[in-house]
Symmetry: C2
Subunit: 188 residues, 2 copies
Amino acid sequence: MQNFINHLKKYITLNEDELQILSSYVKTVSLKKKDFLLKEGQVCKANYFTEKGLLRMYFINDKGVEQITQFALENWWISDYMSFTMQSPAHFYIQAVENSEVIVIEHHKQEELIKQLPQLEKYFRIIIQRAYAASQMRFKYFYDYSKEENYRQFVSLFPEFVQRIPQYMLASYLGLTPEYLSELRKKG
Amino acid sequence: MQNFINHLKKYITLNEDELQILSSYVKTVSLKKKDFLLKEGQVCKANYFTEKGLLRMYFINDKGVEQITQFALENWWISDYMSFTMQSPAHFYIQAVENSEVIVIEHHKQEELIKQLPQLEKYFRIIIQRAYAASQMRFKYFYDYSKEENYRQFVSLFPEFVQRIPQYMLASYLGLTPEYLSELRKKG
DNA sequence: TTCATTTCTTAAACTAGTTTAAGTTTTTTC
DNA sequence: GAAAAAACTTAAACTAGTTTAAGAAATGAA
């Protein structure tokens, strides 16, 4: 969990004692590619930090097709926040795209941890506020640009990420079909 | 700002002294229909709570067309959070759809206020977490359903809201053209 | 009340993107 | 290494939704 500690230290100060406390509230989970952290219908009891690897969040539509709405790279948090917040059944799956390591903080432990280390309260607020800010921008792109334009921008901004995932996952995330993605790639 | 106080008391406890402190950090602004809280290019220096009325957040695309991405009803917060968080130029406009009253908390004052009233730290985290949770669900609907289906669901879930705004704003928010909305309404 | 502006409706022509139905290539499994 | 499975490509037929171009109705301003 070295990544996690380094990441936290960019936001808050933590001495050795505090690190010990933190460590007692979180656990590290190793996932094989395709292992699940969450399945639809389960209650999402935890918040997940991607220590290493890559996760995806998706739902299955009524035609049985998987639709990816989110990825989580190293140093990103991921959760079904509606389920996490309301402790209601999840609408999404969270699955490892590749072998991964994840830091898990369970809902009730997060609240206790914050009581022990109050500086984490601000940390979690800033992190989720940034995620929300990013989602506001993401909505703007959805409204503003065509799917082709969004594809081209995405490839140009995140070439390494695009190499890292199968094309059909990229298509799913961008809301287009694999066939259309092939066509766009052919167009150059 | 009675709404604001009542709303806060659902989440945190505030005695009379604390209410006084809070009041000294926020201000109430009355807006006429079409008045702006924020324009693109300005830095969004505040977080806004809708005490009364209705706000909309939109951007102008390269064809000069307004695209609404969000509304804020009574008791809702609204801000361009990327601009608010990073103190960078805003991509959005925030404007009153009707005559409104807004509670304004400036960025630096919010941080000071939280120091004075630490229970607000958790309040803001929970609020933004809920907003993010809702945005995850909203992405799901974008991916999952056609624009027509989303329109029909929206009308059925929020009939009063739909009465409250002009049809072209509803169309804009749902990402469809006013012409197509007219067609859908005709279809019944 | 009149006039100007905004909003809503109508419909045909158009298009971004999907669906259908394979075939080909790459990766995984045993 | 062979076979199966998954991923990718191809292209024609199709469609959800847009664009274009008005006209009609409602609202706002003077």
